[in-house]
C-alpha cells in the first residue's frame, strides 16, 4: 500500500499541544506525518510549503489555533489567506490543492487531531504519490537548501 509522506507544520500553542494531548490520551493515528514545530502558523512562508512538495512530500498539513484564539492575535488569519492563495498556485502548477490542508486544532482537541491526521493521510493516500517532474531549471531556481 502506498504510504504518503506528510509534513505537518504545527503551531506550538494549539495544535502541537493538541498532538501532545492525543498522545497522553493514547489515541492512535497513522505515522505518516513528521512534525515541524513553529511558534505560529503565521511564520510559515508559502515557500516552505512549496519546498516540502519539492523535497518529496505528498501532503502538507498546517495546524494552528482557532480563529480568535491565536496566541499572537491574528497570525492564523494571515495563514488562512496564505493557504488559500497557495492552493490556487498549486492548482496552476498541476498539484491537487487537496494536498495542502489547513486545520484549526486547539490544545484541547486531541481527538480532532487524530481525526484530521487519519482523514488527511487517507485523502493523500487516495491521491497517490505526488509526481512533480521538476525540470533541472526548476530545481536550480528553487530556494537553496
Amino acid at each position: 500500500m502506498f504510504e504518503p509522506r506528510i509534513v505537518c507544520f504545527f503551531c506550538k500553542w494549539c495544535t502541537y499541544a493538541g498532538a501532545d494531548l492525543a498522545g497522553t490520551s493514547r489515541k492512535q493515528y497513522p505515522p505518516n506525518g513528521a512534525v515541524v514545530r513553529v511558534n505560529c502558523t503565521g511564520r510559515i512562508d508559502p515557500q516552505h510549503v512549496l519546498w516540502a512538495f519539492r523535497e518529496g512530500a505528498d501532503g502538507v498539513l498546517v495546524g494552528g489555533c482557532h480563529p480568535g484564539d491565536c496566541h499572537y492575535e491574528e497570525g492564523n488569519h494571515k495563514t488562512m489567506r496564505r493557504v488559500q492563495y497557495l492552493k490556487r498556485m498549486l492548482e496552476d502548477m498541476g498539484v491537487e490543492p487537496e494536498r495542502l490542508h489547513l486545520e484549526w486544532i486547539s490544545a484541547a482537541e486531541g481527538e480532532k487531531l487524530v481525526h484530521v491526521m487519519s482523514d488527511f493521510t487517507e485523502e493523500v493516500r487516495g491521491l497517490g504519490p505526488l509526481e512533480l517532474g521538476l525540470s533541472d531549471t526548476a530545481k536550480a531556481v528553487a530556494p537553496a537548501k
Binding site: R5, D20, G23, R26, Y29, P31, V35, A52, E55, E74
Partner: protein, 653 residues
C-alpha cells in the same frame, strides 16, 4: 562544518522503548551528518541521565544537544539547565518529541514508529546544527500589579501583593468593593456572618498605603506584555466629587428617584444617588444618571446638589481615563447567577415567591430588605413550607449548562438550615441529585441540616413550578421511592447555576487570555498551574476561573498573589530570544513587516530607510518573516534556512 551534535535517546522506561527500537535509533543517528555522539538511556530526565548529557557535552566538545524524549513542554527546561551547567548555551539544547507524538500514538506499528522517531530527531538535528548561542532578552520589570475585581478574591490578592511590598491598583466596576460575598448572610459550614468577616478586609484594602483603590471604574485598554503592561482605566462619571465627599448621606436621603437595588437583588429600592449598601467601601455615593430625575427631565430636580454641604455634586462630570504601568494582572471578575428567565418551567421569574439563591441570601441577611426575616415577597407572610432546588441550569447538557456549579448543594443546605433557625415550625425541602459536600466540615454540615434541623432531602429534579391558589406548586419526584411528589409550598428558592461574570468575556477578549466555551478563564495547566493564565503575566483568582466557594477563592487569590510576588522578586524579566531580526543591508524598506506586526514591534527608520525590530516588544510569532519579500527578516534559531533543512530531514527516506 564543525558542528558536533549529541543525540540522547530516552527509553522513558517502556513508554518509548516498548514501541520504538531505541538502540536502532541511536545507531542510525550516530551516522547522520553533524552528529558526533549518539546514545540511549532508560530515563534521560533522571540525575544519572542528565549527568550523561553533561559529561558528553564536555567529553565530546558538543556544540548542540538533542534529547529525544517526551514533549518539550515537559522537560525542555530541565535539559536546558543541564546544558547550561555543562557550559553549553541553553538555546542549543533541543528536544525531539518521540513519546507523545510517536511511541504513544503509534503503538501498533513499531517499525513505522521507529522510523518516525528517526525522522523526528533528524529534523531537530538539522535545527540544532544552525542554532546560535543566544541570551534571553532582559526587560525591566514594573513591580506594580493590577487586580481586576473587588470581590473577596480580588481583595485578598490585592492585600497579599501589597503586604509583600508591591503597589497594587485594584479596580472594581461597581460603586463599592465587596462583591457577592458582601451580599451573603452567613457562610457555610461555620455560619459565621459574611459581613463581619468581610468588612474588615474591605477597610484594610482600602486603607492600605500600597493599594490604589478605584471603584466605579473599568479596564478600558491593556497593551504590552508581562513586566510592562500599559493599562488604561476608565473612571466612570459618578457626578459626585468623591475626593471631597464625606459620605454624610444627605443627598441620598433627599433624592426623590428610586430604582430596584442591585445589591438587594431587586427586593428593595435604592435611590438614584446611592451607595450600594450601608457598609460600602468607599462609603461615598455615586449618581446613576439612567434613573436620575435631573438627567431624565432636563435639569428639573437638582435636589442633591442643593443639599450637599460641600458642593460635591457635579452634573457635568465626564468619564476620566487614567493610565498605569503594571507588571502583572490578576483577574478576579467573579461570577453571576444563570438568568432565571432561562428557566421557563419554573416560571422564568414571573412568580414573586419563586426567588433566586442570592435573593434568599438578602432575605436572610440582617441588613437586608426584610431585616433578616423570611417573608414571602408576594404578601409579606412567613412561609411555612419552602422548597429549595439544586441544579437549576447546572448539569444540563441539553438545554442549559453541562457543568456542576459546585457551591449550590452547600449554600442551599445553609439556606434550608437558616430558614429553619428563623421559622422553627416551618418545613424545608431540598430537591437534589447528589449532595456534593467535598470540603472540610461540609458533610457534617449537611448531616446537621438533615438530622438536627429536619430538612427533608428529596432525591429528584423538579420538573415544573407554578402558582395555584396562592401557593407555589412544585412538581418533583422522589426517585428513591419512585413517586411523583407534589408540594404546595409557600416559597421556592432556585439554586441557579454559577456563570462567569458577564463583563468577564469582554475583558478576556481585551486581555487576550483564554476562556472556555462557558466564559470561565482557562488556567495554564489544570493541575500544575492552576492560577496562571497561558499568557504570561496574567493570573486568575476566584470564580472567574470556575465555580468556587469562599475558602477556595481566598486560597486561589493568595496563590495568585504569591506568583505575582515571585515575579516581582526579579528586577528584570527574561524573555525568550527566539524573535525576529532584520538584516539592514538587504532590507528594501518596503514596510510590509511594519504593517503586519500585531505588536507594533517592527518600526521604520526614516533616516536609514530600513525596518528594525524592537527587541523588547517582539513576541516571536514570525508573521513579518513570512511576509518579508526579500528574506531580510529572519527568526533567531528558526531561520528560513533552518526550516528548509528541517523539512528536508522530515522527508528523508
Amino acid at each position: 562544518m564543525g558542528e558536533r551534535i549529541g543525540v540522547f535517546v530516552c527509553h522513558c522506561g517502556t513508554n518509548i522503548a516498548g514501541v520504538v527500537d531505541v538502540k536502532r535509533v541511536a545507531e542510525e543517528l550516530a551516522d547522520y551528518p553533524g552528529v558526533a555522539y549518539s546514545t540511549d538511556y532508560t530515563y534521560m530526565c533522571s540525575d544519572p541521565g542528565q549527568n550523561l548529557v553533561k559529561d558528553a557535552i564536555k567529553k565530546h566538545k558538543l556544540t548542540g544537544v538533542i534529547v529525544a524524549a517526551c514533549s518539550p513542554t515537559l522537560h525542555e527546561a530541565t535539559f536546558r539547565r543541564a546544558g547550561t551547567a555543562a557550559g553549553m548555551n541553553q538555546y542549543q539544547v533541543e528536544i525531539a518529541n518521540i513519546r507523545e507524538q510517536c511511541s504513544w500514538v503509534h503503538r501498533d506499528n513499531k517499525e513505522a514508529a521507529t522510523e518516525k522517531a528517526i525522522r523526528t530527531i533528524k529534523i531537530m538535528v538539522e535545527k540544532a546544527r544552525l542554532d546560535e548561542a543566544l541570551d534571553p532578552i532582559s526587560v525591566p520589570m514594573t513591580p506594580r500589579a493590577l487586580v481586576v475585581g473587588g470581590g473577596i478574591a480580588g481583595i485578598q490578592a490585592a492585600l497579599d501583593i501589597a503586604n509583600a511590598g508591591h503597589e497594587v491598583v485594584l479596580v472594581e466596576k461597581s460603586a463599592s468593593i465587596g462583591g457577592h460575598m458582601a451580599q451573603l448572610s452567613e457562610t457555610f459550614p461555620t455560619l459565621d456572618c459574611s459581613q463581619c468577616i468581610m468588612t474588615p478586609k474591605m477597610v484594610e484594602v482600602a486603607q492600605h498605603p500600597k493599594v490604589k483603590l478605584m471603584t466605579y471604574s473599568e479596564v478600558d485598554d491593556v497593551s504590552g506584555y508581562v513586566g510592562n503592561f500599559k493599562v488604561r482605566i476608565r473612571k466612570k462619571a459618578a457626578y459626585v466629587n468623591r475626593d471631597v465627599c464625606t459620605g454624610c448621606g444627605l443627598c441620598i436621603e433627599k433624592c426623590p428617584a428610586t430604582t430596584p437595588s442591585e445589591f438587594d437583588e431587586q427586593l428593595a429600592d435604592r435611590k438614584a444617588i446611592y451607595t450600594p449598601f450601608p457598609q460600602a467601601v468607599p462609603n461615598k455615593p455615586v449618581l446613576d444618571a439612567e434613573h436620575c430625575t435631573y438627567f431624565l427631565k432636563d435639569g428639573k430636580c437638582g435636589i442633591c446638589a442643593k443639599v450637599c454641604p460641600l458642593d460635591c455634586i457635579d452634573y457635568e462630570q465626564k468619564d476620566e481615563f487614567i493610565d498605569f504601568e503594571v507588571g502583572a494582572i490578576v483577574v478576579a471578575t467573579g461570577y453571576d447567577l444563570y438568568p432565571i428567565e432561562n428557566l421557563g418551567e419554573y416560571g422564568g421569574g414571573k412568580y414573586p415567591d419563586v426567588v433566586t439563591s442570592l435573593q434568599f441570601e438578602r432575605m436572610l441577611s440582617a441588613s437586608g430588605p426584610t431585616g433578616g426575616e423570611i417573608l414571602r415577597p408576594s404578601d409579606g407572610e412567613v412561609p411555612k413550607e419552602v422548597v429549595f432546588l439544586t441544579c437549576c441550569g447546572s448539569r444540563d447538557t441539553e438545554s442549559h449548562l453541562p457543568y456542576c456549579s459546585k457551591i449550590c448543594c452547600m449554600y442551599l443546605t445553609k439556606h434550608a438550615m437558616l430558614y429553619k433557625h428563623n421559622v422553627h415550625e416551618g418545613q424545608a425541602y431540598v430537591f437534589y441529585m447528589d449532595v456534593r459536600t467535598g470540603g472540610k466540615g461540609y458533610e457534617e454540615f449537611y448531616t446537621r441540616a438533615a438530622e438536627e434541623d429536619d430538612v427533608l432531602y428529596i432525591r429528584g429534579k423538579v420538573s415544573k413550578i407554578f402558582e395555584e391558589d396562592g401557593k407555589v406548586m412544585v412538581w418533583g419526584v422522589d426517585t428513591l421511592s419512585g413517586k411523583k411528589i407534589e408540594i404546595a409550598a409557600d416559597m421556592a428558592v432556585l439554586g441557579l447555576a454559577t456563570i462567569p461574570n458577564q463583563s468577564a468575556a469582554k475583558l478576556a477578549n481585551m486581555l487576550k487570555i483564554h476562556a472556555d466555551e462557558w466564559g470561565f478563564l482557562s488556567e495554564a495547566h489544570p493541575k500544575l498551574r492552576p492560577v496562571e493564565s497561558l499568557t504570561p503575566g496574567f493570573y486568575l483568582a476566584g470564580s472567574a476561573q470556575g465555580p468556587k466557594d469562599i475558602p477556595e477563592s481566598v486560597a486561589q487569590a493568595s496563590a495568585a498573589a504569591s506568583k505575582v510576588a515571585a515575579l516581582f522578586a526579579e528586577t528584570e524579566y527574561h524573555r525568550e530570544p527566539i524573535i525576529a531580526v532584520i538584516d539592514e543591508d538587504t532590507c528594501a524598506g518596503c514596510r510590509v513587516c511594519v504593517s503586519v506586526c500585531p505588536y507594533d514591534a517592527a518600526e521604520f527608520d526614516d533616516e536609514k530607510k530600513v525596518a528594525r525590530i524592537k527587541e523588547a516588544i517582539c513576541e516571536g510569532c514570525g508573521v513579518c518573516i513570512a511576509a518579508c519579500p526579500s528574506g531580510s527578516a529572519q527568526q533567531k534559531n528558526l531561520t528560513d534556512e533552518q526550516l528548509y533543512k528541517m523539512v528536508s530531514a522530515a522527508l528523508e527516506v
